[in-house]
Symmetry: C2
Subunit: 344 residues, 2 copies
């Protein structure tokens, strides 16, 4: 008896060590997302998470090109981003003002970006552009069905499409043989449906489905060009976008989100880049909650590291997420009942 207890303890210790080691990225110590001396293009780079990611990449030695609509914001952001450069004399910074919901604009962006980047297409594309328009489904105008999709999904699909063309048409003409990257920014709302995000969640799950399909499809070209896709799932970010979104957010949605403390743009940016450096395809930024929500929706997506954490948390998530849902449903039900009684 004592012997088997000892054995069990030993096994537990080994298991936990492997778990922690895996989570720390111990099995993949090489940086899978080197940016020093490379050129990164960021959509939605003039504010919020996009700008924070851009600053962090500048600190790591990247040349950075940001894309957004408003020139004033782009200029201000570029000042901060270039100030973060580790080698101000050699790193280069630029912005392009564009409306990403038009596919023609993406073609213009890749042409201008290539010209600016010494006739080489930038090798890393990070899509952070997007916004949420929360509201109760029956109160939302039907125009938002398309608008949310275009702002969050189509804009990223267009620019990914535009960048893949030069990468795949002339891969041997490119100087660097390092992996190229396309990073999409989804949302925790793509892993956990929440009342109020009926038109936002669909646009964010769409991004993940695109990334997942491309992750498989781009293997077709692997002998010529190694392109990796990634999806980031941030929770609440304290950003200018959040302030806009809170203006129309239903009270019940705010109540449910109370438990999600929220993170600064810098925190989300730092966690995201760490995930990319570990080579992760699906990256959550909200600690164990994010990991658990993702683990319940892994499907055939690539597991992080050796997949030990994803698998074990996945097993637990299958059970725990039932309780999460029950709790959410209860909150919504009570809210509905109270509102009805007040109206009487």
């Amino acid at each position: 008896m004592a012997l088997s207890l000892a054995w069990a303890s030993a096994l537990l210790v080994v298991f936990l060590s492997v778990l922690i080691f895996d989570r720390m990225g111990g099995f993949q110590s090489k940086n899978q997302f080197p940016v020093d001396g490379r050129t990164v293009i960021l959509t939605g780079g003039s504010q919020g998470m996009g700008k924070a990611v851009a600053e962090l990449l500048a600190k790591k030695g990247a040349n950075v090109l940001i894309v957004a609509r408003t020139v004033g914001k782009l200029e201000a952001a570029l000042k901060d981003i270039s100030a973060a450069a580790i080698r101000p004399s050699s790193q280069r910074f630029h912005y392009i003002s564009a409306d990403l919901t038009s596919p023609a604009e993406s073609t213009r962006i890749i042409t201008e970006a290539t010209k600016w980047n010494n006739n080489q297409p930038p090798e890393i594309l990070i899509c952070c552009a997007g916004s949420a328009s929360p509201g109760l489904f029956i109160d939302l105008p039907t125009s938002l069905v398309k608008e949310q999709m275009e702002t969050n999904y189509s804009s990223s699909a267009y620019i990914a499409h535009a960048f893949l063309q030069p990468w795949l048409q002339n891969p041997s003409g490119m100087k660097s043989k390092e992996a190229k990257h396309i990073v999409f920014t989804s949302s925790i709302a793509a892993l956990l449906p929440i009342v109020g995000y009926s038109l936002y969640s669909p646009s964010k799950v769409a991004l993940r489905a695109l990334a997942d399909t491309l992750s498989q499809e781009l293997l077709l070209y692997h002998p010529l060009c190694n392109i990796r896709t990634h999806t980031i799932f941030p929770g609440t970010i304290f950003s200018p976008g959040l302030e806009v979104e809170n203006q129309t957010k239903p009270a019940i949605t705010k109540k449910i989100e109370e438990s999600d403390g929220g993170q600064t743009c810098e925190e989300v940016a730092a966690i995201s880049i760490k995930g990319l450096e570990r080579g992760e395809e699906l990256i959550t930024t909200s600690g164990i909650v994010g990991v658990a929500l993702k683990a319940g929706m892994l499907g055939t997506s690539r597991r992080n590291g050796w997949g030990v954490v994803d698998t074990v948390v996945g097993w637990i998530a299958v059970i725990v997420l039932v309780l999460v849902r029950r709790d959410l449903d209860g909150t919504v039900r009570r809210w509905g009942k109270e509102r009805l009684e007040k109206e009487k």
Copy 2:
């Protein structure tokens, strides 16, 4: 030793019985989707799965209204559907020709449908309209980003939005107090990303996200009106749509789909209705493969029955889907390599 073996066997038998009983819907014997004497509106009802579902519902005593674009096809389909009626003298059948990608058309449909249905809005909405435009991402025109989304996602979102208005604005004015239903038709491609469906999968995951969010959000109105949402995930269906889709389908996609035998419209319709009658929210139609793929992507969605099957299969899926992905990746990689060697 012999005793513990007996115990283990007994437990296994009990467990398997519960599993099978749960799968058979044993714990929920009441029909959760009664249609006899009720009115169902079906989009995409003029052919394929939509028409097969309509015929089956006619056999079960429903009044059926089908919506599609082409009048000729609608007329032909309506003949078959009304011929399936169990009480031809009292059941009623009708069609409306409309382009569902315009939100205004959905408003017209609900008005016309209500008028035709003795001034009561139909209580069951089944969205089957949609089509796949497969192709390799870099070869697809960017116009398809929007088109696939509108055909498959927006069209269903618009009509769901239009039907919720009368249901929620005047629930006490409606004769029937039975649950109302919105059924979306997603695809197995929403659970398993496959090369060639980069713009199709996003539109189909979007539908599930909308259904999942509404499943929670509509609890707000539960004291007034019980509305349930469902999502069906069919695999390959032998239908006119499949023939169109096969014309542009990449060879690698066809190769991967070889293992999915495919089903007739009637088979898919029968399995879908059975799932609805058992009260399931997420319904797969391709046997154990479908159940496993769904179990790996359950998230916080409602489990079927008591959730025993979903949970157990979910645990297994977390592991098995890694191997499925590895197998798919290997096939795609080899295909890419062979193609490259041929081109040399």
